[in-house]
Symmetry: C2
Subunit: 249 residues, 2 copies
Amino acid sequence: MNKIDLYFTPAEVQDSDLADKLVIVIDVLRASTTAAVALANGAREIIPVASIDAAGELKQKLGKEHVLLCGERDGIKIEGFDLGNSPAEYEPKAVKDKALIFCSTNGSKAMLKGGQGVFCLVGGLVNLSEVLRFAVREQKDTAIICSGSGGKFSFEDAVTGGKYIAELEKKLGRELDKNDGARAALQLFRREETDLYAALRSSFHGKYLVTLGFEADIRASAQLDSVPVVPLFTGGRIVRHQPETVTAQ
Amino acid sequence: MNKIDLYFTPAEVQDSDLADKLVIVIDVLRASTTAAVALANGAREIIPVASIDAAGELKQKLGKEHVLLCGERDGIKIEGFDLGNSPAEYEPKAVKDKALIFCSTNGSKAMLKGGQGVFCLVGGLVNLSEVLRFAVREQKDTAIICSGSGGKFSFEDAVTGGKYIAELEKKLGRELDKNDGARAALQLFRREETDLYAALRSSFHGKYLVTLGFEADIRASAQLDSVPVVPLFTGGRIVRHQPETVTAQ
C-alpha cells in the first residue's frame, strides 16, 4: 500500500481510477453512519439503488417480506418508505434480519460508484478503526470517495476523509503518496481534529440537518469507533464483514 | 455582495447556481494566466471551445486571417494548432489583433460553464487585484469555478480560489457567507499564503508541468498582479475589459 487518493465527489471518479483499488465510500452525514448502525443491529444486507423508481422496482421483485424501503430526499424520509436516513430509526426491532433497499441523495450514488473497486467499504467516523484495519490487512492502494452533497463538495466528508488518511498513515508509520484531493483533505482535517462534532455540525449539510431536528444524528455520527462494524459492498449488496474469517496478521 | 461560493470542478456547478451571480473562472496553471497575457499583448478576443473538433469547425467559419488555433491536451500543444497553452508563446508579435480559438483540457470547459453567470471573468494570480476590483464594483454575489484537472479537484486552483476569497474579504472589510467549498479553499490558502509559487509547483499538475519543461510558466503564473487586465467572457468571447468605461466609485 503506497498510494491514497481522495475524491470530493463521485463525479470526479472514473472507473479506471478504481482499478485494483480498495475503495472507502464516505457519507458521514448520514448514510455511512446509518449503514454501520443497521448492520450492527442485525440487518441482513443493504442494497443501494440510484433512484426512488429503482427502489420501488426492486421491492416488487424481492417481495414484501423482510424487505424495507429506506432513504431520504433533502434529509427527509421518502413518502411511502419504511425508514428515512436517521441512524436512530435503525433499531434492532426495525431492521433485524431485514434486507434494506437504500436510496439516499448522495450516499447511494457514491456506493454504486465505489463498487467498481476490488473491495468497497462504507466508512464513517463510527467505524473508522475497523474499516482501516481491513484496509491495512489488504495492503492495497486505496481510493476514498466522498459522497458530497447534491453533487458538490461537502466539508464534513472532506474532514472525515482527512481523518481516515491521518489514521492510516499513523497505523502504517509512514506517509503515503497522495493525490491533490487527499493532500487537501488531510490539511482540512488537521484544522478540525480537536472537535470533529463541531466540524460536522458547522458544515452546510450539518446546519441543514439541525434545522430539520436531526442534531442528535450529527452527534451520533461523530462518535469515533462507536459502531465497530465493516460494511462491505460486494455483489450489489452491503453486508457485515465477518471478522472471524480474517487470517492472522 | 454577501455570498461567495466556490466549486472545485465545473461538474459541481448547475446553471441555477450561477443565476444572478458574478462568476470568476480559475485555471491558474495555465489557461487563466495565458488568457490575461494574450489580452495584455493585444489579442482581440479569445473564443473558448469545448473540443478540438469544435475548434477546427470554428476556424473554418471565421476564416484563416487573424485567427489562431490555440490549446493543449496533456499540457502539450495540439497537433496542427498555432499555439499551445504556455503564456510565453503569447507574445505581441504572435497575438496582436488576432482572434484566438482556445481549446484547453480544463479551462475552456470551465469558462463555457461560467458563461452562464451575469458576468464571467477569467482570473489567475497575475490579474487578481484587477478582477477583484471589477467584482467589488459590481456588488454581486460571486461564484468561483475552479477548472480542476481532468475533471478532478486540483490543489493549485483551490489555493488560488482561496486567495481570491481572502483578498475579497480584506477589500470589503467583512466576512462573506461561504459555501463549504469556499470555506475549504480559504483554509487551504491560509497554509500556503507565504509561498504561492511553491503551492502551485507542488500540485499534481504543477509537478507534471515541470516534467514537461514548463517550470517558467509556473513561476510566471504565480506572479501576483503582474498582468493587470480583466478578461471578460461575454457573448461567447473573452475580451479585455476596458477600465475607462468604469463609473467612479
